[in-house]
């Protein structure tokens, strides 16, 4: 039988506010346990939540960016359950009336086509703390620093049909929240994590199969592998006569498999009800317009502009706009050297390669956009060749200074003096009489040999176009 996979994603994104969603405590990551948990975060008797207005603004920006409806009135509810790292015994989360409803994201598929993925809703909620199992014997430590960190949970429609589509959607959303500047998107620190709802059905059928929810996937790779494993598991199960049960599963990256966590019957009854400590969130049309004015250029619009303004290919424009930082970097380099295509090739090529090798973020790059622009200008004005530029770039990356200084110090300036080039060519011809003989008797391939010899003697600094031209003339005996 032919099977079709159906996937919907719930993505939790931490909003990058300075303070928490309902208290004044700081949200910075990595503090000593429980140093960033105030009375409100600890759920002490008598404390009350007060909504951080910055959280609402960020959610509205997200809603606008996915062309969604912004609810004029949304409501925080309490999701009640007991857990040691949930200080109040309930999580404050929007339930029946979320702040954002019915948006979409367009993703690019491998065959070059686009696909629209519906976003059912996005709602605001507070994060829980963390249970720490290492370093305690027969006990569990509780760190409440993360408790009360603002999250927006973005719930997609079950519109994805493969793990690859799911990853494309997740990447697109990841880029979007970073473009909007509403989240740092740091997946290692849990700022962007995903639950995947996965089911399979015979191709052609319209009803959905029974789904399993895979919890807490915190990398693109894990999402892809977990979904692929889960699809295999469900198909094998059905084909061997079994049935899929609705349940929550955990992905174990070490063993590359998903395992049952709890079934539907064991699921909590969360006893949601509107939180009486908080007023409904009321958003006026003016608030929405103000948020719209704060929206930056979004990835799709930027990509279109890169194609039309810089003459880049759709592929290059897509790569360069994958993150806002990279796009900004590229634009600064292009403006500095006035050669967009050259800038695009370098930013996607040598620069990105060096960045990947160093495992550093763009912000930590030792080569600034201005510095790279200067280097590319030296190619443009023929001070150095593209090949020499790679050497200069490496030196710049290791902190040896600016392009001009390195070219000067290492004497890398290109030789463009025809007389000097002719002299070297003459030396090379004189030193290789037999090759000259062969070339002249028709062995054209030896041209490359002579070019190599000349470049070797000039340590690559001779202008390649001039070398070609002069050498051809000399070899023909002019």
């Amino acid at each position: 039988m032919q099977w079709e996979t159906v996937i919907g994603l719930e993505i939790h994104t931490q909003l990058n506010t300075v303070s928490k969603i309902f208290s004044g405590a700081a949200t910075a990551y990595g503090a000593e346990p429980n140093r960033q948990a105030c009375a409100v975060d600890l759920g002490l008797p008598g404390v009350l939540p007060v909504l951080n207005a910055a959280v609402v603004e960020k959610a509205v920006m997200l809603g606008l960016a996915i062309d969604a409806r912004i609810a004029p009135r949304s409501v925080f509810a309490r999701k009640n359950y007991f857990y040691p790292d949930l200080p109040k015994g309930y999580q404050i989360s929007q339930y029946e009336l979320p702040i954002v409803e019915q948006g979409y994201l367009d993703i690019d598929l491998e065959d070059g086509s686009r696909k629209r993925i519906g976003v059912t809703r996005a709602h605001l909620e507070e994060d829980a703390g963390k249970s720490l199992h290492e370093g305690f014997t027969a006990m569990t430590g509780i760190d409440l620093n993360r408790a009360g960190t603002p999250l927006v949970e973005i719930v997609s429609e079950p519109d994805m049909r493969s793990a690859k589509e799911a990853v494309a959607y997740m990447k697109k959303l990841h880029a979007l929240v970073r473009y909007l500047g509403i989240s740092d998107g740091n997946m290692q620190e849990g700022s962007f994590r995903c639950d995947a709802n996965v089911s399979v059905r015979p191709r052609g059928r319209t009803e959905f199969g029974t789904r399993a929810e895979i919890k807490n996937l915190n990398s693109f790779r894990f999402v892809e592998r977990a979904i692929n494993f889960e699809v295999e598991r469900q198909i094998d199960l059905i084909e061997s006569g079994g049935t899929v049960v609705q349940e929550t599963r955990l992905y174990d990256p070490d063993r590359d498999e998903t395992r049952s966590m709890r079934s539907k019957e064991e699921a909590n009854d969360y006893r949601y009800f509107p939180d009486p400590d908080l007023l409904p969130v009321v958003i006026h049309a003016e608030d929405i317009e103000a948020a719209r004015r704060r929206l930056p250029e979004l990835p799709d619009a930027k990509r279109e502009r890169f194609i039309s303004a810089y003459g880049l290919s759709a592929y290059d424009a897509g790569s360069l706009t994958a993150s806002r930082e990279l796009a900004d970097y590229f634009e600064a380099v292009a403006a500095g050297c006035n050669a967009p295509k050259l800038a695009a090739n370098w930013v996607m090529g040598d620069f990105s390669a060096a960045l990947n090798r160093s495992e550093a973020g763009l912000a930590q790059s030792p080569v600034s956009a201005e510095a790279l622009a200067q280097l590319l200008s030296r190619i443009q004005d023929e001070t150095i060749s593209g090949k020499i530029a790679k050497e200069v770039f490496d030196a710049m990356w290791s902190g040896e200074g600016e392009a001009d200084a390195i070219i000067e110090a290492r004497g890398l300036k290109q030789i463009t003096d025809t007389a000097a080039i002719d002299a070297i060519i003459d030396e090379v011809i004189a030193a290789n009489p037999s090759q000259l003989e062969q070339y002249r008797s028709g062995k054209d391939k030896l041209f490359g040999f002579f070019v190599g010899q000349v470049m070797k003697k000039t340590r690559g600094q001779a202008n390649p176009a001039q070398v070609n031209e002069r050498l051809r003339a000399r070899l023909q005996g002019d």
């Binding site: 002490l44 008797p45 008598g46 009350l48 015994g89 006893r271 009486p276 007023l279």
Partner: protein, 484 residues
């Protein structure tokens, strides 16, 4: 030294006729001597009180003006007070020393009040007789065999016996007004949102409201001046210009339209209480008020609606008492479930458990619509009744409770009978309106309270009516004999 009212003490302190230290020592002495008969305090804090009194005396010497400067008060043990045990009447919080101070307490401290201690109360404010307290029942100063009402029974008894001139209370479903009535004092439940709930341990968040309890309306007005005000730490706090609640005390009653809901004078009302209320209403009429019969047709639904909404909210509010971070923790838990179940089973009393179970039930999947949602609709109907009534009248009046204080243990076996003690007060909480109870007569030796209900933010008018009544009568000035 002779007993006096809060307002009078305030004048005498400003006149330097007496010092705050002398006054504080006087009342601490009364607590020390007399509270063994009442059990109205859970904690007495003489050292803190004397230090605060000395600080107040310095401020008085500098000629500073502050509404409660140098005046002794007591705080219901539901308000967090930094460095002082805040038990909420529960074993669960017997070991809880609050690390911060409630807004109400902070405001009163800033206003110069001198806290003598923390008063006894029903556990987590759940009760109408003060019998659910982990610290034992409070006795009614008018008859030690009878209850003082609840949940603010400690505050009511302490004020009635003049162990303190004024105290704070909280009122979720009559918890200020019913004990005020039972103990023969004046108590105000302000409009929901008038007084900050920050630092006041939550029972039912959409209903809880703090207010003053004192001998007279004038004293309550002084207290409310210090207690009320917008608080950015409470999202349900209402931002309004500050109001002087003493300003309206001398308002004339001429032409005042007082509505008498026929539902508050029907079946279940003790004839003695009815007679006392009717006599009190006659006094108001003589002063020029017009009495108009009205109807609040949905008021009969208020007790059932309340006993869905309040337990629902409490079941969630009390989830934080899990033995993990603060409060009672069972000995040597075997695992997490054992920690939760034993800590909570040991830490909570029977009435609290009953309400947590009711609340958990009404919020459960499949029952939510039938109970919680339905109760919220009833709540809207009740508020609509009042809205219509206030189109016709300025103030609504009736008995605070259908009967005089009952005997200790009399209703302990029948929670529903106990709940009916709040049949006239609860609708006011559901609607979020202000209400006041004032001493209006007696049945035998026992006090009867009259409830006045006002429109939203109309506390000043209620205080004015009560003050005018107290100019004509001396019920509020009478004291139980053993404490004179």
């Amino acid at each position: 030294m002779k007993l006096d009212t809060l307002a009078s003490w305030a004048r005498r302190l400003r006149a330097r006729d007496i010092s705050s230290r002398e006054l504080t020592e006087f009342y601490l002495g009364r607590i020390d001597r007399l509270d063994s008969q009442l059990n109205s305090f859970i904690s007495v804090t003489p050292d803190l009180a004397l230090a605060a009194a000395d600080a107040a005396d310095e401020r008085l010497a500098r000629g500073e003006e502050a509404p409660l400067l140098g005046l002794p008060v007591a705080q219901k043990d539901i308000f967090c007070t930094q460095g002082v045990r805040t038990s909420c009447g529960s074993k669960m919080l017997d070991n809880f020393i609050a690390p911060y101070t409630a807004t109400v307490v902070e405001r009163m401290n800033t206003a110069g009040a001198v806290m003598l201690g923390k008063t006894n109360m029903d556990e987590f404010a759940m009760g109408s007789s003060n019998e659910t307290s982990h610290y034992g029942p409070v006795r009614n100063p008018w008859d030690p065999e009878r209850v003082p009402g609840g949940s603010s029974g400690g505050s009511a008894a302490a004020v009635a016996a003049r162990l303190v001139p004024a105290a704070t209370g909280t009122d979720t479903g009559g918890s200020i007004r019913q004990p005020a009535a039972f103990c023969g004092i004046t108590g105000v439940k302000p409009t929901y949102g008038r007084v900050s709930r920050y630092g006041m341990i939550a029972f039912a968040s959409s209903l809880d409201q703090a207010g003053p309890m004192a001998a007279s309306a004038e004293d309550c007005a002084l207290m409310l001046n210090a207690m009320a005000g917008f608080d950015p730490r409470d999202s349900t706090s209402v931002e309004r210009p500050a109001e002087d609640f003493t300003a309206g005390l001398r308002a004339d009653l001429k032409g005042l339209r007082i509505g008498l809901p026929r539902e508050f004078f029907g079946e279940g009302l003790d004839p003695g209480v009815r007679a006392a209320i009717e006599a009190a209403l006659a006094v108001l009429r003589e002063r020029g008020a017009e009495l108009i019969e009205i109807s609040l047709p949905n008021s009969g639904l208020s007790v059932p609606a309340y006993y869905v909404v309040a337990p629902a909210e409490c079941s969630s509010n009390l989830a934080r008492y899990d033995g993990v971070r603060f409060g009672h923790r069972c000995d040597e838990p075997r695992d997490l479930t054992d920690l939760y179940t034993r800590s909570r089973a040991e830490g909570f009393g029977a009435e609290v458990k009953r309400r947590i179970m009711i609340g958990t039930y009404v919020l459960s999947a499949g029952y939510y619509d039938a109970y919680y949602l339905k109760a919220q609709k009833v709540r809207r109907l009740i508020a609509d009744d009042f809205r219509r009534a206030f189109g016709q009248v300025d103030v609504i009046a009736g008995p605070t409770s259908p009967e005089t204080p009952f005997r200790l243990g009399e209703k302990s076996a029948d929670p529903v009978q106990m709940y009916l003690s709040d049949i006239y007060t609860i609708a006011v909480n559901l609607a979020g309106l202000p209400g006041l109870s004032m001493p209006a007569g007696t049945v035998g030796n026992l006090p009867v309270g009259m409830q006045l209900i006002g429109n939203y933010f109309d506390e000043a008018r209620l205080l004015g009516v009560a003050h005018q009544f107290q100019q004509e009568t001396d019920w509020h000035a009478r004291m139980p004999a053993p404490f004179v």
